[in-house]
Subunit: 245 residues, 2 copies
Amino acid sequence: MNETIELLLRHRSIRKFTSEPISDEVLRTLVQCGQAAATSSNVQAVTVIHVTDTDKRESLAALAGGQPYVADAGAFVVYCADLRRPKNACESQGGDFSAGMMEHFLIASVDVALAAQNTVVAAESLGMGICYIGGLRNNPADVSALLQLPEQVYPVFGLCLGYPDQDPEVKPRLPVDAVLMKNVYSEAQQRELVAQYDEQVRTYYQTRTGGNKDSSWSEEMRALVGKESRPHMKGFLADQGFATK
Amino acid sequence: MNETIELLLRHRSIRKFTSEPISDEVLRTLVQCGQAAATSSNVQAVTVIHVTDTDKRESLAALAGGQPYVADAGAFVVYCADLRRPKNACESQGGDFSAGMMEHFLIASVDVALAAQNTVVAAESLGMGICYIGGLRNNPADVSALLQLPEQVYPVFGLCLGYPDQDPEVKPRLPVDAVLMKNVYSEAQQRELVAQYDEQVRTYYQTRTGGNKDSSWSEEMRALVGKESRPHMKGFLADQGFATK
């Protein structure tokens, strides 16, 4: 164990921030930490839109399903998967961009997540808190219009950054033996561990909500994957030039 | 700046490792650091397969396109996007799993990348080096068969971990102003910065290879996105139950 590992294990999402802003200089350092992450074949398919316009932040908070911290956090940035820049570079060398490849979509989306997570770790090392905003994918076309994203660019998620004005508990995760396997995938080793975790999650919610929330992880998963989720995404991505072949 | 930020900015991929192995105990801690990362709606759609079987590691090194460090590194793990566990949990509560959603594919793939990057940061904080292995997607069906991955699980990438037996330079990244934008996407601000970066990359390769490699970033991008890339991925993912709707 060391300080970095302790920092990683202490992570929890923050949804209430002090009014202290994040300076442009600090934000640049955080983004540079993101750029330092690994990137597939050096494609660097990541663009970060720093949203400073108050009206835009209010609009994004609403588009994300009513998440006020999108407007209130010290800074709000949108992480975009960007194949536009490599496309332009390819064409500047006389190449023809190969549009719509699933593999390129995956590379770009993974690049974004690796970079964002480095930014998160850097921010938390400076005492900030963060919250990822997947809710931008509720209305991805409206978000893209607001940020003037061209084809070959799409918003993967937003990220709130700022100084915490709350101190929530760390949320328990699945037992490590339910997710770490040796040589082959094993469903058998998961069953009992998931059952244990279900009860741990139930206790966590009951404690956190003073008894108002009573749900296991498996019940949460029924709500999450037991119905269609953002069924517009496939069509939206195709419209932006992603993942059609 | 602090130690964590300096660590992040020092990252470079390592492709030559000492023979020192990574103990199971250390690997568990690294995976737990990955679990501590944010996860969409607590889905935790990540399974890590620790490949200890020598024959399997040799096979994977070959399937990845002949990358010997897959067999040689202190440890080799495969990061899998796993909707099987939430599917089973959903069904245990009487739900019907909604198969093939693009949104679920994206959530799971992003979850994997966030977790893996935390593991990488933790490993580097302990003096290890790492290399992501996207090459597993050259032959994803063979990789899946080797690891006995069921439907709703797919290998996103591999990860070599170990103690470095080389000391490569940090690779230069795009200027931060080419990737960090304010309020709207801007192609105009990128052009000159990419041209500058092209020359920086050319110098970097010439220095690193003693003049044998002469390529700009834009030339690399022509080679990368100017042709189809892993065109089997869409069909493979559909076969595994991902991203069909």
